[in-house]
């Protein structure tokens, strides 16, 4: 049981622990107080928020009707889910039909070549979510592969750090909207394969995400490396560890908590930047979805955009939690991470 509690604590589900303790029969009054505090208060706040939202929705008129309330947004989410299911069904149907056609075609002309076709329905909302996730992870991985090694060198070498510092200070505050045109032009110039594996819009968005989410990981890594306890480095010196061994056995393990702090921040920034980048680059993800809805201006538009806002928020929260769990897993003093 206490192992279970520890697990919940590690994955950040602290609000669930009072229930476990209650099951174990640990001072019920204290547990009920905890439940009230950890679950009751957030639910109350949520209800107040929903109430205020409904009130605003009933009183504000916009050009294409009224502002949707919570119920309308929830209904819209259901509609979008149904559309996804319907699309999946028609996709399955398409492939079944194609298989049948292929069979009859091969029966009629044996030896003939059948051209396999792909289902070409418009991307559904769920497809767009996955496109966004794919794009953000591509950008995040590029950022991590650049930032962590650079950060380690920055942390180890004062000279290199001073060389890098002006660039970090200069480029860190630049908005994704400023990077994107440059990235798009560069991608158009440099990426022109005959049979492209990735869309240009995907590459542009991913690189913009990378450019913006590079900095937190870079700064935290170099800080983590620069802060290594001198004792650990003395151990490396007494053992005469070589350069590579010093990095892998001493430097990286001791900087790992801060490296992961940086990566967690980077992923957060990346997810935020992604929406803007997709809007402009027309990468078929959540950003493009919001933009298209804004452009078509139907009566469902606002409700759909609000569904997208909540989706973006929930996914951002889940990503942060995943990074937090990783961060705790690699830290040797994991009590401090919240």
């Amino acid at each position: 049981m206490s192992a279970l509690i520890q697990t919940f604590e590690n994955v950040g589900l602290n609000w669930f622990i009072p229930f476990l303790r209650l099951l174990r029969g640990e001072s019920p009054s204290e547990q009920f107080r905890q439940i009230l505090l950890n679950i009751g208060v957030p639910i109350l706040a949520m209800l107040i928020f929903l109430g205020a939202w409904s009130w605003v929705a009933g009183h504000v008129k916009v050009s294409f009707g009224s502002v949707p309330g919570p119920a309308a947004v929830w209904a819209q989410a259901g509609v979008m889910w149904d559309a996804y299911r319907a699309d999946r069904a028609s996709e399955a149907e398409f492939y079944v039909k194609q298989a049948e056609k292929k069979k009859t075609f091969l029966a009629e002309n044996p030896g003939g070549t059948w051209k396999e076709r792909k289902y070409s329905g418009a991307p559904t909302y769920i497809d767009q979510i996955f496109t966004s996730l794919k794009t953000v992870f591509a950008g995040f991985l590029i950022a991590a592969f650049v930032a962590v090694p650079l950060g380690i060198i920055c942390g180890l070498s004062k000279v290199f750090n001073n060389a890098m510092n002006p660039f970090i200070q200069l480029f860190k505050p630049v908005s994704p909207l400023a990077w994107l045109p440059i990235v798009m032009i560069m991608v158009s110039a440099l990426y022109n394969p005959k049979d492209p594996m990735f869309e240009k819009s995907f590459i542009s968005s991913a690189f913009t995400v990378a450019l913006c989410s590079l900095w937190p990981a870079l700064i935290n890594t170099s800080l983590g490396v620069a802060q290594i306890d001198n004792d650990y480095l003395n151990v490396a010196r007494v053992l005469k560890l070589g350069w590579w061994k010093k990095i892998t056995k001493i430097v990286i393990p001791s900087a790992l908590p801060l490296i992961f702090t940086g990566l967690r921040l980077s992923l957060g920034v990346g997810w935020m930047v992604l929406i803007a980048a997709e809007m402009l680059a027309q990468n078929p993800g959540l950003g493009k979805f919001v933009w298209d809805m804004f452009q078509n201006g139907s009566s469902d538009t606002l409700a759909q955009i609000m569904v997208a806002v909540f989706t973006i928020g929930i996914i951002g929260f889940i990503l942060d939690r995943i990074m937090m769990i990783l961060q705790r897993a690699v830290s040797f003093d994991n009590a401090t991470i919240r």
Binding site: D231, Y232, N234, R237, V238, L239, K240, K245, F332, D333
Partner: protein
């Protein structure tokens, strides 16, 4: 031929007028298999001296040589046990020792290395804790891991830099006995730095006091000619023990102690006068009779 030799070593920090010389004119020669204790005040430069022997720092003047070979950089030859253990917190007890063993004996087959690691973990009585992380261990256990790691490197000389200062008295006594036992079994050359004279007498063949800084230097050495194994309880009544203790402490408090400085300052006393409340006040008594009186004060500072 001395095994470890320091010749006219000095070391300071800072530059120009701000330069403070920590160690000055250190001469030390240690024979192979000897256990030498250096006793001194905290802040005297004991750890600096140890860093010089270990090669973590280079002296400003003079030379440090092990077997006639100048010490220029750290090496597993001179294993050091730090006061704050310096174990790697992300590695278990076994892995901490293994890191050193794998690095020092890369040519050994895996089984031999493993056997070697386990042997030294057993030597410091930590076999049941071999898979624990340092943070799960008490201070005494951590220091034992550190000792095991140092011994497992099979160094020519073992440097103990106040290894027991951070521990409570009981743990310290146990570890002192353990260090003595281990030393008896393999007779390594050991330099122990400590601020505890009794600890030095209990463990060492020779005690050398380090005078108080700045410009600390080594005082006259005292041979500890008490037979081993030394018993902690009996030692307290041994007349020779008392004599050695008196000699070392005498030097540290006397010639090697803090140089006393006196400071003389002139103070202007405030113009206040006690008032006799039993007498009725008059205009005349309201004014102090002494004005702007000065007093010269001399204060001794250490």
């Amino acid at each position: 031929m001395a095994f470890l030799e320091l010749k006219n070593v000095s070391k300071g920090y800072g530059l120009g007028a701000k330069r403070a010389e920590v160690l000055h004119g250190i001469n030390l020669s240690i024979a192979e298999g000897e256990f030498v204790a250096i006793v001194g005040y905290s802040g005297a430069g004991k750890t600096t001296l140890m860093s010089l022997i270990a090669g973590l720092q280079r002296p400003d003047t003079g030379t440090v040589a092990l077997r006639e070979e100048e010490v220029k950089e750290p090496s597993p030859d001179r294993a050091i046990v730090f006061q704050n253990y310096s174990l790697l917190p992300w590695l278990s007890v076994y892995e901490n020792v293994a890191l050193a063993v794998d690095e020092v004996f890369p040519s050994w087959p895996r089984e031999k290395r493993q056997e070697h690691i386990l042997k030294y973990i057993a030597m410091v009585n930590l076999t049941p804790a071999r898979d624990k992380k340092p943070r799960e261990l008490s201070g005494g256990m951590r220091q034992r891991v550190s000792v095991a790691r140092a011994l497992a490197m099979n160094p020519r000389i073992l440097l103990l830099d106040e290894p027991l200062s951070a521990l409570d008295a009981l743990t310290r006594a146990t570890l002192q006995d353990e260090i003595e036992r281990i030393w008896e079994s393999d007779r390594k050359t050991v330099v122990l730095i400590t601020n505890d004279v009794d600890e030095g007498i209990l463990l060492a063949d020779r005690i050398i006091p380090l005078s108080a800084g700045p410009r600390a230097t080594l005082g006259p050495e005292v041979k500890v000619d008490i037979e081993r194994p030394r018993n902690r309880k009996e030692l307290n009544h041994d007349p020779r023990f008392k004599e050695i203790r008196k000699e070392v402490i005498g030097y540290l408090l006397g010639a090697g102690g803090h140089q006393k400085k006196s400071l003389t300052r002139k103070l202007v006393l405030p113009d206040v006068e006690p008032e006799d409340l039993s007498k009725p006040r008059s205009m005349m008594s309201g004014r102090p009779r002494r004005k702007g009186e000065e007093k010269s004060e001399t204060v001794e500072v250490s």
